[in-house]
Symmetry: C2
Subunit: 134 residues, 2 copies
DNA sequence: CTGTATCCACGTCGATACTG
DNA sequence: CAGTATCGACGTGGATACAG
């Protein structure tokens, strides 16, 4: 795994990879997006996302905290209360992410059409070879 | 898996998720970026990326082709020759992706600092509890 | 309430070998 | 040259149970 082959600055591309991976994460972007509208408690996040497990929410938040994108504030009360909020850095991430989401929304139908076309041709090929599956 | 909980339009968020996943993919963005400078053959791509296996390059290209981001042109010669190129749709994707990469580059050091801080505190906590690992 | 720990199913990826 | 097929290792995510 020599990272020498990647164009331009090596560290820049490694950073890009990591951020891209973060963005590709199943929950991170959603959490950041929710916190973009204000701080939330653990349970509030869990309820807002609803498909997420406790484990995954914890892991996601830890990762975001580690990267300096969210802050974790513990109130040592009983029962305990923990607030999560976006850092300034986390807020700046929202802009490029929103740009990407906008792109997705804009080209959603175009992509879907391409997929249908591709899958259609693929099905034809398979049936032509006599092995119609499904 | 009821997709009812996601905010705003359901299809929009599903589309965003899929694009985010595509962007988070280990190779897709790299391939799109390379094709952004002009069409390339299969082997040229393979050599340019170098860390990628034949299998992964094939799968990546099929996925991009399916989504209508790249075209696959076969020249029925011997030996065979296949050119891959970005579609107009694929080209438009480059802009938001570059914005995200720029964000990564800009905040690279900031993120690294946050990680060091976090990992440092984590290590301290662990040693304080008497279980210094590593 | 806010986690942590454990287990397991699943998908993804790489290595390798083979084909047209 | 440009793939496809197969296999095994690995990481990721969900369910569940338990703890502070």
């Amino acid at each position: 795994m020599s990272p020498r082959h990647i164009r331009h600055t090596e560290s820049g591309c490694l950073a890009a990879r990591e951020v891209l991976k973060l963005v590709g994460d199943k929950w991170s972007v959603l959490v950041v997006s929710l916190l973009g509208e204000g701080p939330l408690r653990f349970t509030e996040l869990k309820r807002s996302i609803e498909g997420i497990s406790q484990r995954m929410l914890t892991l996601t938040l830890r990762g975001l905290e580690r990267d300096g994108l969210v802050t974790r504030t513990v109130f040592p009360t009983i029962p305990p209360r923990v607030d999560y909020a976006l850092t300034p850095l986390g807020q700046t991430l929202q802009e490029p992410v929103r740009a990407l989401s906008a792109w997705a929304e804009t080209h959603r139908e175009e992509i879907q059409a391409a997929r249908d076309r591709f899958d259609g041709k693929d099905a034809k090929k398979r049936t032509a070879r006599g092995a119609a599956r499904q």
